[in-house]
Amino acid sequence: MTTMAHWPLLSLTTFLPLAGVAAILVLRGDEQAVARNARWIALWTSLIVFAVSLAVWANFDPTRSDFQLVEQADWLPDFNIGYHMGVDGISLFFVLLSTFLTPICVIASWTAIQRRVKEYMIAFLALETMMVGIFCALDFILFYVFFEGVLVPMFLIIGVWGGPRRVYSAFKFFLYTLLGSVLSLLAILAIYFITGTADIPEALAFNFPTSLQPWLWLAFFASFAVKVPMWPFHTWLPDAHVEAPTAGSVILAGVLLKLGGYGFIRFSLPMFPAASAFFTPFVFTLSVVAIIYTSLVALAQQDMKKLIAYSSVAHMGFVTIGIFTVTPEGLQGAMIQMLSHGVVSAALFLCVGVVYDRLHTREIARYGGLAENMPKYACAFMVFMLASVGLPGTSGFVGEFLAMIGAFQVNTWVAFLGMIGVILGAAYMLWLYRRIIFEKITHADVRAMVDLSPREILIFAPMIALVLWMGIYPASFLKPMQPSIANLIERVQVSQRAAATTLAQR
């Protein structure tokens, strides 16, 4: 351990973006200069935050299963509500994912956003604070503040810089997710009164009465199922994705969709093991339906972004299956699948953004034959497309494979139906790729499109590297999370066994 371990690294990662917000807020001068300065400030802030988050990783002890780099301060001591931050193997990589994607978003919006640049960059930096805060918070009230606070900047990003139906989509996104989260707030308050504290580690170790567990589980489910999103609560996602600006889609797909899975792993499983076991068939059913149904829907899409949005719903189906198998393979698979999807789907949205910036349409039929004049683009797109399909050697394979191993141990039918989804996934992604990249160029304006600029290569290069890293040597990511996951599984099994014995004694 270096001396940096004594620094409040997590608070720095969380609140440093707000320093960038403050710096951008005081910018004055003519619009061009302000826009330029706002971009640079946002870029530097997010890069520094990423560097700080790498220091978090460096100081993280991968052999421990408890919360590390813990910071505690009084906030509302009379109410047992405190400022409590910390990461374990489950949350660590989500923090890194958030800080990794934010600078990429800033670069991706460099020329695409010309209107209200100052406000745009403020919104993204505020969003980063909220995202990192969600994964670091170890106090329920603090967690909820970040969890719901994320809605405000995202609402503005979709509504101000979005497409033609942006107002409808922004409202749908906001109200849909708000509806879910307020119910989880009530569950949080109930937990607060049962345990007498808002401290998350204490609540995780608390044995909740079996009679209450289903209600609390359902309240959390309302919130997380909307975020994941699970079928049939997914309808806000295609709308939000299609209308959001490219970088908005990147954050939405990359990080915000992970909040649901993170919530299930962090809260639902360890706090309500009995209810989780009870509802597992329900979750499996919804997940399998999501995988197959949304894959079929994706096959029918005319709009690139919509297709990728539906594919996200399908991919998150593997995540929920993996989580509720409560096996080491399943949970690790779910984690890797979330991280992989966070990079891959973000990259796919960026790929769509590249051609959208040139032709200003997302209609698949308007493209075709891009391989001829955009070979670099075709190459980058291929890597992400294959990762999304789950080709061995890419991150997508590791996630889906592990999740399916987990499912196979618990329920072969779920595994079987899930695998059908993998085949369908290959079908719609390869078909999308063929229609855009191959075939003959039929439109003159498509022929005039230029290949990736150095700025765009700068965006894709680290993402390709990450996808291959996770695919070829996933151990770097699996190792730090294994102790925490093992700890979680033990906790679930012990309390399920305890519940079984109390039932037997009756």
């Binding site: 719901e148 409202f171 906001f174 109200l175 307020v182």
Partner: protein, 486 residues
């Protein structure tokens, strides 16, 4: 009679009343030219009242409960807390009213003096320890408010608002008085202490008494504009001059809700099982109706009227809980609501184009382009009113829902959060108009130093409440603890 009556207990109220009369004299002799001077003197008088009110708390660190003036009035920490809020609300209203009245040509010295008198009435309501004192305070407040509603006497809408408010308000006062007389008839006393003693000993649980309590509740529900006694609110809010609406939406509401708390929990605390269900229903109806009816509004003052109806519903959750946590929730709610609403109305006062006030929600279109700072402030207030963290409005809702869960009212809590999602829609609509729509042309400048200052202070309090919530929460907690000893 053994000792001299303890006048000190109503010293702030007496000071304010005397100050109001003196300032009226000053105003009459100085003439209309001195309006601004008199207004500043009124602000000063309110600040002095605040100092008199808080002085014993500062010197001794606590406000022990004491009854005085032949048992008519009570001084306790609940009174100090809410009277502080009422005075702050009055000060903020006076500050934002000054320039508006001058521009609209209704700057007369009666305005600040009437605000002062109404404030004195509200403070009496809060300090009342007897049904008669309660009625006196309530009427002193109401009569001043009727006149204020009609203050733009050349404006048809304003006069209509005043008349409507007067007629309906008189009916409500009558109901309250009728209820009080029934209670007196069946209980034999009007003193809160006497009533409390009667009910805690399990006596007096007769149909006549319950009827009396229902009538008193109806009168109070009217004063806080809870559904189904809210009908006057949208019309009065829309018709009254905007600074008066701002005043209506904060100070009297805080006073009436405090009165509601005190009457229900102290004299009638023993009958909680009987009145709790009434409050439950009123609270739910207010939240739901406040949310749904606001959706269709085009006038921002009407929208704020429905918004205030909804917020009364949330605050009443705390009363329905009937516990220390509930009282704490109500007090936190009122304190935060004061700043959210005062800030919002200060922004509404800036909505003036070509020398005329505009009140349509559409008139805010593109505000983020024309006046970015103003739009940001209004967006902060709107997200806060919707209860979105990290703004203060979230904590207001958090504490009442906490009380509801604690008191075993999960259904009310669930329906409450659902209606808050519906409510979020119309607050978001204002943000949408300001940020997503095309600009419509700038508002007249300058807004005026007082208005800008009020907006700034309120926005800062709402935004940074999260950083240091301790003082307000612990204060409210301490107050609630005194109401529920043991």
């Amino acid at each position: 009679m053994t000792a001299a009556p303890n006048f000190l207990i109503v010293l702030p109220e007496m000071f304010l009343g005397v100050a109001a009369m003196l300032l009226l004299l000053v105003g009459i002799y100085a003439g209309a030219r001195a309006t601004r001077f008199v207004t500043w003197l009124c602000v000063l008088a309110l600040v002095a009242t605040l100092a008199i009110l808080l002085q014993p708390v500062w010197s001794s660190g606590a406000a022990p409960r004491q009854v005085g003036l032949f048992g008519m009035f009570v001084g306790d920490s609940l009174g100090v807390f809410t009277q502080t809020l009422v005075i702050l609300g009055s000060i903020l209203s006076l500050l934002i009213a000054m320039r508006f009245n001058e521009r609209e040509g209704i700057a007369r010295i009666e305005f600040p003096v009437l605000v002062l008198i109404a404030t004195a009435g509200m403070m009496m309501m809060i300090a009342a320890n007897d049904l008669i004192a309660l009625y006196l305070g309530l009427e002193l407040q109401s009569l001043a408010l009727y006149v204020l509603a009609a203050f733009a006497r050349d404006d048809v809408r304003s006069t209509e608002a005043g008349l409507k408010y007067f007629v309906l308000g008189a009916v409500a006062s009558g109901m309250l008085l009728f209820g009080a007389s029934m209670v007196y008839g069946f209980a034999g006393t009007t003193s809160f202490d006497g009533l409390a003693k009667l009910f805690t000993n399990g006596g007096g649980n007769s149909v006549g008494l319950i009827t009396g309590i229902v009538f008193i509740s109806v009168g109070l529900a009217f004063k806080v504009s809870a559904v189904p006694f809210h009908m006057w609110t949208p019309d009065v809010y829309e018709g009254a001059p905007t600074p008066v609406t701002a005043f209506f939406s904060v100070a009297p509401k805080i006073a009436a809700l405090t009165l509601f708390l005190r009457v229900m929990l102290q004299p009638f605390g023993g009958l909680m099982a009987d009145w709790q269900q009434i409050i439950w229903v009123i609270s739910l109806l207010s939240m739901a109706w406040g949310s749904f009816a606001a959706i269709a509004q085009q006038n921002i003052k009407r929208l704020m009227a429905y918004s205030s109806i909804g917020h009364v519903g949330y605050a009443l959750i705390g009363l329905a809980a009937g516990s220390a946590a509930g009282v704490r929730g109500v007090l936190v709610y009122l304190a935060i609501y004061l700043f959210m609403n005062a800030g919002t109305f200060a922004v509404i006062l800036c909505m003036r184009r070509d020398g005329k006030m505009v009140e349509g929600i559409d008139d805010l279109a593109g505000l983020s382009r024309t006046h970015p700072a103003l739009a940001l402030a209004l967006a902060i207030f709107m997200f806060s009113l919707a209860g979105i963290p990290p703004l203060a409005g979230f904590f207001a809702k958090l504490y009442v829902f906490m009380a509801a869960i604690d008191a075993g009212l999960p259904i009310l809590a669930v329906l409450g959060v659902l209606s808050s999602v519906v409510g979020a829609y119309y607050y978001l609509r204002i943000v949408k108009v300001m940020y997503f729509d095309e600009a419509r042309g700038a508002f007249d400048r300058p807004f005026g130093g007082e208005v800008t200052a009020v907006i700034l202070v309120c926005a800062i309090i709402i935004t940074f409440f999260i950083v240091w919530p301790g003082p307000m929460l612990n204060g409210a907690d301490a107050v609630a603890a005194t109401l529920f000893p043991g």
